[in-house]
Amino acid sequence: MIYEKYIRVLYLDLTTKKIRIENREDLYSYLGGVGVASKLLEENLKPELDPMDPQQPVIFAIGAASTIFPVVTKTVAMFWSPLTGELGESYAGGRMAMTLFLAGYDAIVITGSSDKPAYITISRNNVEFKDARALWGLSCDEVGRVVREREPGGGKRSIIRIGPAGENLVSYACVCVDTYRHFGRLGLGAVLGSKKLKAISIVGDRDLPIKNFKEYFKVYQELYNRVTDTSIMSKYHDAGTPINIEPLNAAGGLPTKNLKQSVFEHGDKISGETFAHKNLVRKMACTGCPVGCIHIGQFRREFDKGHEYEAVSVSYDYELLFALGSFLGIKSSDEILQLIEVVENLGLDAMSTGVVLGWATEALAKNLITQEQTLVPLAFGNTQAYITAIEYIACKKNEFYSILAQGADKASDVYGGKDFAMTFGKNEMPGYHTGYGSIIGPTVGARHSHLCNGGYSIDQSMKEFDKEKLVEKIFAEEKERCMLNSLIICLFARKVYDRETILAALNSIGYNLTNEDLTAIGERIYKTKLRIKNMMGYDSKNVRFPKRLFETPSMSGQLDEKVAYELLDMYNKKVEEMMAKEDA
């Protein structure tokens, strides 16, 4: 809690509908965010029970500097992932961090399961469990509208919710936050669905005087100027993250058609520039971020003869254009936006959905599965078939789609095609085939995300390939991001928030930290996460890479499977050394 030496935790139990609040001094050394959430997950986890058991916890936490400094906008969720069967960790922007901050909580621990669909309202002086029976089955969009109209606090409120995919326990169902942001990855939506929790509305409006205005505001102003006046952040606002489609495609690093290719022949039709020209209508921001990277694209759909049109607006980003674009061979911006719309309404992770469908498309072509199972003729570029297939995944239409709803790794266990089921540690791949970093990064990353350590980015910045250097950089970045995610800085601003800046910011709000402290905090958090993975039965030695990674040339040329396994061993040794060491 800002200005206090404790972390304020709200415990909610959906079975008993009881709440409890604790001010935890012992969590203070974990700063906040992923540090606090990891500790809370570790102590509330029931390793002997099933990942989806009602008793399993879901943790939400804001960071040590949430909202009060520019671009410090994220909330972390931690849980037991139904997709990978191990560490679930996901981040969302929007207004959630601000509302939790001003409702007066650093973290929420949700356990139990409601007997009937419920939603929760949280404010500074009340927590209520409410009836959501009529909301069960509604899309993310519709449930947001209903809660918005029923609950007070507009403008100081955040509404997070699940769609039908979460209710139906699709292993990669997402949680929608404030319409345009998401806890996208690793299936938090399914975990909330298993608890019969449809939505949470949080209102933040408490009085919170600034302690040391002069010092705080000096740092704030400096940061604001650096974020808005310099070029460090401008690419995120301009055409946004999709600007990366063009250079990655040109360099041969854009996964295309289930990674049968790393260059998309229609890349120019789905580039950031194309979206900006044809579809971009608006940009938005998370609370406290003057950058505004959220890009809203619009497309027009003719729903009947006689010039009957509807306009649909959805947010788009690089990873969505990859997963629901190049990876499925979709060659127009309008069609990608249509796929995003379906994924949004049903409440699915766009990345996993696209990559799972990439596998299914190839499996059908190779006769591992039949059209009697897929029901639609899945083929690269066939948008209509994909729209229907996405709907079938969300409702688990038949046995095949029930299995597909458990991810590409599970589907390839059942039907074969492991060599082209594009997952890292059972999490579907991100949009980078840049080199060994893009393989090792998400494989060793604690949550198997490209954002764990940015291995793909190291590929692009490293002048000459060096095994030792690559492994060292990934290891260092993994720990550094544990620290950044305890604040919780949006990783887009990681170049603005260097160590010196972080210390100035935290110390202006009453911390007394040194550079060494930050290093120790990062390592402490990483070790906690690794302990949790261990509790969940994860063993890094069992990891296998899909062969496709070594068949299709990457941006750094053809990759060698042996080298990849060698790098993995090198990384695992580093982890073992760290775990053997006492806490700093």
Binding site: G155, T179, R206, P209, T287
Partner: protein
């Protein structure tokens, strides 16, 4: 020449709330956007437009000042009013008198939140939605 705040470019607003955080911080030494004199909100959910609710700097006749029974709201040169806290009894009559709902109320302080037209929000707007406009002195 006196200046007043004009929310001229709200179509460009990205909803970052930095204006509110800056106003609350500078004018009320508070982290809470509830203390801000300018309020940005959406009309009709996030898919709706961003609108700002802030003092329009009425000239000549100021309904809020007229409604005040204790003379706590003085005319500000160029438009709007200045709050004299020591004279305010917290009756909230100014709040209901303002037909654009730009007088917000601070429940903790039991005083209205009155825009001073200081320009801090405009300075911290990254998208040119807010600007300070020179105007004639109407007093």
């Amino acid at each position: 020449m006196p200046k007043v705040l004009r929310a001229v470019g709200m179509n460009k607003c990205i909803g970052c709330f930095t204006c509110m955080l800056a106003c609350a911080g500078v004018n009320h030494r508070n982290h809470s956007i509830s203390k801000s004199a300018i309020r940005v909100r959406t009309s009709g959910g996030l898919q709706g437009k961003f609108v700002s609710v802030v003092c329009l700097a009425c000239k000549d006749e100021r309904a809020c000042a007229e409604a005040c029974p204790s003379g706590a709201l003085e005319k500000r040169p160029g438009g709007g009013v200045i709050l004299k806290k020591e004279r305010c009894i917290g009756c909230r009559k100014c709040e209901s008198a303002c037909i654009v709902s730009a007088v917000h109320f601070d429940e903790d302080e039991n005083k209205p939140i009155i825009c001073k037209h200081c320009g801090v929000c405009a300075k911290f707007c990254p998208h040119e939605c807010l600007e300070m406009e020179e105007t004639t002195n109407d007093l």
